[in-house]
Amino acid sequence: MRDNASILPLDVEGLRFEAGGKTLLDGVSFSLPKGGVTAVIGPNGAGKSLTLRICHKLIMPSAGRVRWAAEPGRKRHAMVFQRPVMLRRSVIANLRHALVAYGTPDPATRAQTALARFGLLALAERPARLLSGGEQQRLAIARAWALEPELMFLDEPSSQLDPGATRQIEEIIRGLAAEGMTILMTTHDLGQARRLSQRVLFLNKGRLVEDAETTRFFAEPSSSEARAFLAGDLLW
């Protein structure tokens, strides 16, 4: 059945994005095969979040293409934002809302499964916006997971969290990857990229400077920009 065909690999070709006379992305190309965690890193304003948003079809690129191996009727990639968007509803209602919007069959059961999977059962009836930052991020990931995506985009998943909650989120990401979910995430935390990812896309000033295995990237970056970035010179 065509609907069961994998949407991966994702092929991104020559992405370019301009706004207000500035080029924010320029000629970004990469291919994302099934499986694994890929970290998009780079200094502020490098175009990390923008790349994710364009891939997730939130923003149209000025030029270039985002090509999926298959285009099933139901979108099979989901995104979790840096600041999780919590609807003014209970935790369970937040899940149900997303499931109904996506047209997932049997949303009630699926929502329960997601609650159980992410340890949110006790919070089911609580207003989502009154959860702690870590709980909100967990709900946001649960909500994205419930949609059964093959690929999950995570934009700075722990930038707003304390170390404890960050560890918890990293554990979740590892678990998702172990279940076979493909993950493309941005992070400004180099330690996190090192801990979680197998591959690194290093962006600087809107260009993809390096696309390398994580261990190799951190051991011997091939570009001077990456070396400067890793040395802590923020490349403004």
């Binding site: 995104m79 934002f81 207003p127 916006r129």
Partner: protein, 233 residues
């Protein structure tokens, strides 16, 4: 009659459930509630759509709607009067000087308030929800039900503001209703008439009911925003 004894007579009208008095209060509530309901059915979706869509002329519409919030009731009355008068475009309906005409006039008064307040509320909510809803494929009109539901407590305040305006106005219902006793006479038109006739008890009694309503509306608005805050965090 001095004011003190008029006040006493007013209270007895209220507490003895005087039939004429009840009829006036009942008609007023029926007209105003119907108008607010109609304006809500039209204004909530329109205001929300105005908040989430971008099209040429949108700013003009927003300025126009905001301006119409201050539409003088007598002018609204005049417009509906011209529409419904025998020689007007809708004259054949025979609605002039009926409660229906009053409902139409008050709907016209309340509609801009509801559209404008809804647009403001939903626009703020949309800027917060936009990426998530877009990610779920809910854009344009498809985002409206989610936004209206999540904005329900703030929107309730808008509806109550509309109710306050309609229940307090006298000009529009006077012009299109004609202040016919026991048929189109509302609290506000009675107060105007009875005061000029010198029948203070009825005017005062109705005034007390109106003030009580206003206080009750504000209490409800405050309650709605408090309940909303519990969910909004």
């Amino acid at each position: 009659m001095d004011v003190t004894s008029a006040f006493g007579a007013a209270l007895s009208l209220i507490f003895n459930l005087d039939p004429q008095f009840l009829q006036i209060v009942g008609l007023s509530l029926r007209v105003t509630l119907t108008a607010v309901l109609l304006a809500a059915l039209i204004g909530l979706p329109l205001g929300a759509l105005l908040a989430v869509t971008r099209f040429p002329g949108r700013s003009v519409i927003i300025v126009l709607v905001n301006g119409l919030m201050g539409l003088p009731p007598v002018v609204a009355g005049l417009i509906v009067f011209l529409l419904l008068s025998r020689s007007g475009p809708l004259g054949s309906l025979g609605w002039l000087f009926t409660p229906t005409a009053m409902v139409i006039a008050q709907t016209l008064l309340v509609l801009p308030i509801i559209i404008a307040l809804t647009r403001g509320t939903i626009e703020d909510l949309w800027s917060e929800y936009r990426e998530h809803l877009t990610s779920l494929g809910l854009t344009g009109w498809r985002a409206v039900p989610t936004l209206l539901w999540d904005g329900r407590f703030a929107l309730a305040t808008g509806l109550l503001a509309g109710f306050g305006r309609a229940s307090a106005e006298v000009g529009a219902v006077l012009i299109v209703g004609g202040n016919i006793a026991a048929y189109t006479r509302t609290m506000t038109t009675s107060i105007a008439l009875e005061t000029s006739k010198g029948d203070l008890p009825l005017a005062l009694g109705l005034g007390l009911v109106l003030i009580t309503l206003t206080v009750a509306i504000n209490a409800a608005a405050y309650g709605a925003s408090r309940i909303g805050a519990r969910f909004a965090g």
